[in-house]
Symmetry: C2
Subunit: 271 residues, 2 copies
């Protein structure tokens, strides 16, 4: 047993899809979440800038004594994980490995689609991880730069004509390729699950990267005997680099509950 | 005559629409441009964060000895201009006043539309400035949060089904209101001029805020006898907070020329 908190961070709100799963799987764990809402989105920025921001995010989280860090952000996981692992002496989990494993375990045809931000698709990280596990996989990857702005704007629901049109445009080649598994390579995308699964149809399984990362963290902590008693009441604290009130208001959409008394602003540029 | 440069800044690339006009009107002037590409977009952030970023942008520009600063950003002009004016001892021009004047001089019916980011529309700054000049004006304002992401993604052309659908959705109430003048209250929007004017029709005049700000700066410098000889060859320098190469690549779209040898990265968080 190890009562130190788990640190989780994302470019903004998307990582809360991972927090939600983490709370469900590991109710006894303390969690410190940081969302870089003052600099979101990361996905269209250069690799150097993404690495610089990710280092600051980790430096802030490490002002707490943590047992592990989960990068609940597709862009950071694909672009900065190696640097962060090299520079830190605690386990750091990204979303790529767990999602690749889940995709390989799910697919029957070996045809797998991957969607993500520009930086994520440019990195080729999901493809490399999937190919390492299943060399004969047939992969199709597609950058979807407008999906994060749509989610951040709350336009996630069935019947939103713009969102449906954008999803259709991005996913048409993926659907045509006949994949049976689609990796949602950005933690914002699970909020678009309804619209994406309506378009892809029931024959395609969607891999929620935040959920898989939460599961991988649970497995790691279990192996290392670092899990808390699940009957313990875990404490969760949230930090954001833009307004705490704005964070709390949007967090309700992701977490399905009010956390406004547990959010603080942090000056991330000082880390 | 005053050969000190003019400083111009924006949250990202949008302010280059103002630079382009400035170069056309004032070819003899030196220009220092800063685009905060590492933290773009500003329009959905809180007022406190916008003010904090704007202060750093101005602090960087003031590391040069400038004769004036132009805020080529609708969000900063509507949310932080008063603070910046109070804290600085040189003339600072925003885009609101010049655009309000142009709108009032253009309208015949007194029905004027204003579009901008969430922060801009929340501020009410355009409406207040227009009403101060034309108290009987009938105004309709509309926040258009997806337009900046569309422009930043290069989706600005006629025939882009998503862009056309988004523009139609945002502008339908503005068109229905029967305006004869529409203020493009964000310096990104002139890149969508074709799509917007196709939808609004020939009876509606579009006000380009970057262009009006450039004209106002020219008038101010002329009045104060600070203009350079127009036959002088003005020197332009560009700074960005994300990759210089990425900035140069996108700048070509705004300026219609290659500036890759004149862009440098700046660590804006240190100002």
């Amino acid at each position: 047993m190890d009562t130190r908190p788990i640190g989780i961070f994302d470019s903004g709100m998307g990582g809360l899809t991972c927090v939600r799963q983490m709370i469900r799987l590991l109710p006894g764990e303390d969690i410190v979440y940081f969302g870089d809402t003052g600099r979101v989105p990361y996905g269209g920025r250069s690799a150097e800038t993404i690495v610089r921001y990710a280092r600051q995010d980790v430096a802030f989280l490490r002002s707490f004594d943590l047992k592990t860090i989960v990068i609940a952000c597709g862009t950071v996981s694909t672009t900065a994980l190696d640097v962060l692992e090299r520079e830190n002496d605690l386990p750091i989990l990204g979303v790529v490995q767990p999602a690749a494993k889940a995709a390989v375990n799910t697919t029957k045809s070996g045809k797998i689609g991957v969607i993500g931000t520009k930086a994520t698709i440019r990195s080729g990280a999901y493809e490399a991880s999937i190919r390492a596990l299943l060399p004969e996989a047939q992969l199709i990857a597609k950058a979807c730069p407008l999906l994060v702005p749509l989610v951040e704007d709350g336009r996630v629901h069935r019947g939103d004509a713009v969102t449906e049109r954008v999803v259709e445009e991005y996913l048409a080649p993926v659907k045509t390729a006949g994949v049976d598994t689609l990796v949602l390579g950005c933690t914002h995308y699970p909020l678009l699950m309804d619209v994406i699964s309506d378009y892809m149809g029931t024959g395609v399984t969607l891999i929620d990267t935040g959920e898989e990362a939460a599961r991988a963290a649970a497995a790691l902590l279990f192996e290392q005997s670092q899990l808390n008693d699940p009957s313990r009441k875990g404490r969760r604290r949230y930090y954001a680099s833009d307004s705490a009130a704005d964070f709390a208001a949007t967090a309700a959409l992701f977490l399905g509950k009010d956390i406004s008394d547990r959010v603080e602003r942090v000056a991330i540029e000082n880390y």
